[in-house]
Subunit: 190 residues, 2 copies
């Protein structure tokens, strides 16, 4: 699994390019990402990224797919280790804040190809974690899906508001604790 020091021609470039892209997105946001700057940081020529990803949207598509995989794993881990749906929501917020670059790309579908097979497949596990548990808590199907959407909306809104700097005044201190407190206002069961 450990890649050799220089597995190929110059190294395994796709991974290096994604890493550089994530770093750059953390600095300037996903919209201002520059393929040429990514190439520069990876130490390759400006045309190299196009070979692996086709175009800018292709690179961001890879980032989004990776993000969905990581999110699905994080949510599943939270549910399995605590057994509480509430902690899935907290894990969602934790993921958004700790993987900001992934998260911001994932929810800007105009920046990548959200119908790419890799993305569609990577989305499945996280979807299951968001919609599955409420179905066990609630009786009828419509309440379950509405409850799931409410819970998703709550944590997604909290995460995006935090990332856009809108909550720092109202919620000082650590965001994870605040997120856990916020989820207390939801009444899914019933």
């Amino acid at each position: 699994m450990a890649p050799s020091p220089r597995p190929y021609h110059h190294g395994d470039l796709p991974r290096a390019l994604i890493a550089a892209a994530l770093e750059l997105i953390d600095e300037v946001g996903p919209a201002a990402l520059s393929l040429r700057e990514v190439a520069r940081r990876a130490g390759v020529s400006h045309g190299a990224p196009a070979h692996h990803f086709g175009d800018k949207a292709g690179l961001l598509t890879a980032v989004a797919a990776q993000g969905y995989e990581l999110l699905g794993a994080a949510l599943a881990d939270a549910f399995e280790s605590t057994g509480e749906f509430r902690e899935v929501g907290v894990a969602y917020v934790r993921f958004a804040l700790s993987h900001r670059a992934h998260f911001e790309v994932m929810f800007r579908p105009e920046l990548y190809r959200d119908d790419d097979p890799a993305v569609v497949a990577a989305r499945v596990p996280s979807s299951a974690m968001l919609y599955g548990p409420p179905a066990d808590l609630s009786g009828d199907a419509v309440t379950a899906v509405n409850g799931a959407v409410a819970a998703w909306s709550l944590v997604h809104g909290f995460a995006t508001l935090w990332l856009s700097g809108n909550l720092e005044r109202a919620v000082p201190g650590d965001p994870e604790g605040a997120a856990r407190a916020i989820t207390g206002f939801l009444s899914i069961r019933r």
Copy 2:
């Protein structure tokens, strides 16, 4: 009110530029907005926008400020005409969907100058509508602010998830009704 065919030198350009920008953002998103295309649509030279707004961030700053004004008015109107905090949340979603361009700019602070005096001032009324009513419903201050953050997160998350195309499968039909249903899962009072 109706402006003459060519009221001034060329018309009242700032307004025309903002209108063209909103139209373009609706088509390609706020990140892919091009100042030159905006100028083209307004029928002026490519350098004209810079004269009025300084740079691209300046134009988006004006859009954001206008957006906060409209949002504040919409929320206040909803509260005054119904007396229910819940309808403020529904109005928030309605604003996001009907003023998509404004909304998307407002919550991407990296695209404009969010510390601009005009923006800061325009934010006041909407902030009051988001934080005010819960303070009347709840006893202590910390519960009030947490409840406000929860309510804001819920409707903000719903709106952004809808705009990014993540709810069309789970919530078919009209989003406003769905938003009203979603707010039913919140228990602010108590």
